[in-house]
Amino acid sequence: MNAAATPDLVKRLSRRSWVALLVLLAGCAGPKADEFDLAAAPWADIEAAARGQTVNLVMWTGDPYINAYVRGYVAPEVRDRYGVTLNVSSGQGNQLVSMLMTEQEAGKPVSEFDMMWINGETFYQLRQIDALFGPFTDHLPNARYIDFENPFIGIDFQQRVDGYEMPWGNVQFILIYDGARVSEPPRDREALAAWVKAHPGRFTFDTSFAGMTFLKTLLIDFAGGPEALAGPFDAARYEPVAAKLWAYVNAIKPYFWKSGETFPSGVAQLHRLFTSGEIDFTMSNNDGEVDNKVLQGLFPETTRAYVPDFGSIQNSHYMGIVKTAPHKAGALVVCNFLISPEAQLRKLDPQVWGDGTVLDVDRLPPEWQERFRHAPPRRFAPRRADIEGRALQELAPEYMIRLYEDFRTEVIEKR
């Protein structure tokens, strides 16, 4: 071999060994599964097994306050108290379901993920692909403070939770407006339609979860109340009510932002339009969000929130554990900490997150009851106690599917 070819040969050899090393390392890096039966073990054993584990939590990471709570409070606490390292990754909803589906399709016996932050729609889909571990909630010591008979906690999108996901927080849908520009917020749907017509281009909603929840609330109103559409999906009951809803929306559509020819794609964009002053109303599934956003300097101090007379949907969000998770003991320990009174109380503070608690205050020890009752109040959004009377339950998931589809065909595509 002459001198010129030697560098090529050297390059080739080192590349091959590099590739071999890579494959070797990748093979060694796989996670190991828990080895004992978690359903039967006493809690002390679970805590012992959890020590030293690294738990992978997948959650929505788009809110700096929530990230600070999880990364800056929960993670250090579980590390100090239980020796569990909490690793947060980004992912939510459908993305999560896709990742777990692909794992199953690829035949992975052990998942890359341990626990995840989920709610209604995602829970439904995860049960459909049987990706959740459970039932496990009864096993957690702190679960005794939760009233699973409360329909807003024990039932998720008209499906019984059954121990497959653990309630974490509770929120109620609210309409948000700028008090400086809106003197009298509309309380019922006729008043809303009148307001929109009187102020063209100043109202809209998004085509994502928040907007669809708003439409769902109107749907319940058109149906005459929550009992009308309760229970499993019924097309015969849905269709006439939906027709009325679309007629209502299409009548005021030309007075929406951008003449109703387009809608913001998500609630984040909706908030941005509100912040920049392009529209006067926004909305949120989370009643605790208003105080946060005012504190962040986004919403003006004149921002107010309310629940209209026809009510608004209250629901909980949950933590789930992956069926093939390798670190279930650690995940259980983290779940238990998340529903501990101190973690829940801290989460309640509007300066931290402002998320409602899932704990039943009456079941707590007396000193905790006191602290919960005197938790820091909200300044810009109504108190939960004031709006709870008008809380509505979530409808069956098929209603959501139909709303998404029909909104497209009946409103967006209709010219």
């Binding site: 589906m101 794609s265 599917i401």
Partner: protein
């Protein structure tokens, strides 16, 4: 004899490319095809053409492809023309002096940030609107022209053109040197050509021909763009990748194959485009 000495590393490079890029792509195409007819996928139930049938009965996909082609074509035309014009007019400042540095900076901006910027600047109550309000050009937010989320995809095109133009300016600047356009134009000049002819018959054709492969790539990028149309576009029609993602993220998991079908149509169209570009002779240059 001389060729073989330095071609072995190139051949190895090609083989490596085949391993890390072509094989996974080949696999992915096969997997996507299988998914679309129900042969793969967690909730699939065996071979079926119902997803293909359902998708074709809907005009939505056609509109999505139409919009994407329009946006890609306009972006390419505008970026290339603008880049050529700026290069030829500002050739010296771009070669030496601060502009030669500064022109690199826009490359550091990704699609998501570009979309955010365009929205912040040009939406109804955005930064541009505030300046217009300040100078009394408009009296109210409602008078601001529709520049984002608009029917002509103005915002989308603006974002893409802003991202592509600096890259093409740089590419053309480099090609200008390596293709010795200056010398060639000088020769033409001494042979009596006017300045305009030097421009249109010497500089521009050379630069366009040599950069054609990159122009195709730009077209494909814009065609399959996701974040920019997601933020700056409308719900109907949507660009192809936004539609694909919507179909992919549908609540009914059994309809997932529809997303794979749109992806396959996308692939077919892009392959057709590349095939046409190559057959028309421009790609590959003249070595």
């Amino acid at each position: 004899m001389i060729r073989s000495r330095h071609n072995s590393s190139g051949a190895f490079g090609m083989a490596l490319f085949a391993l890390i890029a072509l094989l996974p792509i080949g696999f992915s195409l096969g997997y996507a095809a299988a998914y679309s007819v129900g042969l793969a996928g967690l909730l699939s139930e065996g071979f079926t053409l119902e997803h293909w049938a359902r998708l074709f009965s809907d005009g939505e996909v056609g509109r999505a492809f139409g919009l994407s082609l329009y946006v890609a074509a306009v972006t390419v035309a505008l970026s290339v023309s603008l880049a050529l014009a700026l290069l030829l007019f500002l050739r010296r400042p771009l070669k030496e002096g601060p502009l030669s540095y500064v022109i690199y900076f826009p490359l550091a901006i990704p699609a998501t940030v570009a979309a955010f910027l365009v929205f912040q600047l040009f939406s109804g109550a955005g930064y541009a609107a505030r300046w217009l309000l300040h100078f009394g050009v408009i009296d109210d937010v409602a008078q601001m022209p529709n520049l984002v989320n608009d029917p002509y995809a103005f915002g989308i095109i603006l974002a893409h053109v802003s991202l592509a133009t600096p890259f093409f300016i740089l590419l053309f600047a480099q090609l200008y040197e390596t293709e010795k356009v200056e010398a060639l134009a000088e020769t033409a000049r001494t042979l009596g050509a006017s300045r305009r002819a030097c421009l249109y018959r010497v500089a521009v054709p050379i630069l366009l021909t040599r950069s054609f492969t990159n122009v195709i790539l730009l077209f494909i990028f814009v065609f399959g763009s996701y974040e920019i149309p997601l933020l700056l576009g409308r719900q109907s029609p949507q660009m192809v990748s936004v539609l694909t993602m919507r179909k992919y993220a549908m609540f009914d998991l059994t309809q997932k194959p529809e997303a794979f079908i749109v992806a396959w149509l996308y692939t077919a169209l892009v392959l057709a485009l590349i095939g046409w570009a190559f057959r028309s002779g421009r790609a590959g240059g003249r070595v």
